[in-house]
């Protein structure tokens, strides 16, 4: 109940964040504007609309997760609202989880609304929707949950600006893990190679969550693969949240 109380409050607070509405406006504009790209790609307009819609949900969802998430705990300390909360008979991890679940719920609503808008737009444009489109949105949400966990971890450790930069780097590296693994031979034996090799094992492989191409082309995806990716995301997210809870456990506020 204590975690839920903090989560509800976090949700209410995040809903009032102006950044959210700015990002949602741009996301909606990108979905609607995808038609323009459809015009220049002969006969591909529905595919382009689906592709850009899902990409918008992913990119703007990540931006919300990063900008709101990295300030979640930090803002409570900065505004000193945390004083009377931490003094209550709660576990500190309940506070961290409450903040995380609050933002996750908000992202759930954002993904749901944006997926709904995109789906309606595809239908209005005369397109056809397959289950894989919604599975793609589900995996985007799973990816957002993982990114949010990193944002909350960084929010317990550092300032929002530095936290946002680090989480953004994790996001970019997460989509480039194949490059990290297949480094050019001239880097062999250098410090850069060992740093990048470490990053390969630490950073989650976010390309696993990306089935936008299949969704745009209406190609079915194996449900077993989706389940495996969801499990992968869940385990990784849980691990990052454990670190976030540990980081906050002994923090002086």
């Amino acid at each position: 109940m204590r975690t839920l109380a903090i989560a509800r409050n976090t949700f209410r607070e995040a809903v009032r964040d102006k950044v959210l509405y700015v990002l949602l406006f741009f996301a909606a504009a990108a979905i609607i504007g995808s038609k323009a790209l459809g015009w220049v790609s002969m006969g591909q307009d529905i595919k382009i609309i689906k592709d850009i819609s899902l990409a918008s949900i992913s990119v703007f969802g990540v931006l919300i997760a990063i900008f709101v998430g990295t300030s979640l705990v930090y803002k409570e300390i900065d505004k000193r609202t945390i004083y009377t909360i931490v003094c209550c008979p709660i576990h500190r991890y309940e506070f961290v989880l409450g903040k995380y679940f609050g933002l996750s719920a908000l992202l759930g609503v954002v993904v749901l609304v944006m997926t709904g808008v995109a789906a309606v737009y595809v239908l209005v444009m005369g397109g056809e929707l397959h289950g894989v489109f919604f599975l793609a949105a589900l995996l985007i949400y799973a990816q957002l949950l993982l990114i949010t966990a990193f944002a909350v971890l960084l929010s317990s450790l550092t300032s929002p600006i530095l936290g946002a930069i680090i989480v953004f780097c994790i996001f970019v590296l997460g989509h480039a893990v194949e490059i990290l693994r297949d480094l050019p031979p001239q880097l062999e034996g250098t410090t850069a190679a060992s740093v990048l090799a470490t990053a390969y094992y630490v950073v989650p492989n976010l390309t696993n969550f990306d089935i936008k191409a299949q969704a745009a082309n209406g190609v079915a995806v194996d449900p077993g693969y989706v389940a495996w990716v969801l499990l992968y995301g869940l385990v990784y997210t849980a691990g990052v949240l454990v670190f976030a809870a540990l980081a906050f456990e002994d923090k002086d506020v």
Partner: protein, 311 residues
């Protein structure tokens, strides 16, 4: 059982960029008994807030122990017994007092029925009914303080820890806080609070502790700490000739003239009595005869100067 017990409590802040590391609290050993109002005094930066934050689990001590009701202060069992009012309390600006108490009731694990009961009791005690559904955003300092007290009292804690509860309040607000602290003591609670308003502390505290540069230099009942003997005596006489004033002033420590008459400051009761008799014989009329004993403020200054000189 002691409500608060600390032993050799020390806090050293780590070195950060642009800030030297420092010993904020140095081997603090103090006790606060049940049903006691304890005033925690010290200049800015003396370590009062650091102590309070350690007791409320916001900071972790570098060494030493801090216990509340026999439990480590950081334990949940101890925090169930603590109600905390920070200096300038901060709450979610978009919540109303009713929603704020509902939120803290949930954090205390209270059932819906218990939360409703807490609202009924605390909103009446702290006069929150008229502002029950207004957003905290527009609240004055006094309204925030009332809400802060209500939040501190959620869950009916045994100990109240108040950081500068009178800070920034107008005279009516300060009176409200004084009356509330005494009422809470009458209800069986212990109150531990820091304050710079020494007049208020003297009025309501059973015991005080004085912190100088992180060290506790004194703790005890106010009556036993202050010097009992008369420090000086102020005698006010009216209707004296100028020549008589000049003659009497020669035996006084100082004198001044106001609309009330001539004020003579005497060193002790005997010389003050002698001066009063002489003044009456010279045709004056005794308006006031006030023996001045040491006040908490005098004592605080005396201990401050001694301790700072020693360090």
């Amino acid at each position: 059982m002691d409500v608060i017990r600390t032993e050799n409590l020390t806090k050293i802040y780590p070195r950060h960029i642009g800030r030297a590391h420092g010993r904020s609290l140095d081997s603090l050993t103090l006790t606060v008994g049940a049903n006691e109002v304890f005033g925690f005094l010290g200049r800015n930066g003396a370590g009062k807030t650091t102590t309070i934050k350690i007791l409320c689990s916001l900071l972790r001590q570098t060494s030493g122990t801090a216990e509340v009701m026999g439990q480590p202060a950081r334990s949940r069992a101890a925090r169930r017994q603590i109600g905390y009012l920070p200096e300038n309390p901060y709450f979610y600006e978009y919540l109303t007092p009713r929603e704020t108490l509902e939120f803290y009731g949930r954090l205390h694990g209270l059932s819906r029925q218990e939360r409703d009961g807490e609202w009924q009791k605390l909103s009446e005690m702290l006069d929150l009914r008229d502002i029950a559904d207004q957003r905290v955003r527009g609240f004055s300092k006094g309204m925030r303080q009332r809400l802060g007290f209500a939040v501190a009292l959620v869950g009916n804690p045994h100990l109240l820890i108040l950081d500068e509860p009178m800070s920034g309040l107008d005279p009516l607000g300060r009176r409200m806080v004084r009356e509330l602290i005494l009422r809470l003591r009458d209800e069986g609670k212990a109150v531990f609070f820091s304050s710079h308003v020494l007049g208020d502390v003297e009025q309501i505290c059973d015991r005080v502790g004085i912190l100088v540069q992180g060290k506790l230099v004194d703790q005890g009942a106010i009556a036993t700490l202050l010097r009992r003997e008369v420090q000086r005596v102020e005698v006010i006489i009216e209707g004296l000739e100028e020549s008589a004033i000049a003659s009497l002033a020669a035996g006084a420590e100082s004198h001044r003239i106001s609309e009330a008459g001539c004020h003579f400051m005497m060193g002790d009761l005997d010389t003050a009595n002698a001066l009063a008799e002489q003044a009456i014989r010279a045709g004056g009329r005794l308006v006031e005869f006030s023996p001045v004993k040491e006040r908490l403020e005098d004592y605080f200054m005396r201990r401050q100067i001694t301790a700072e000189a020693a360090s």
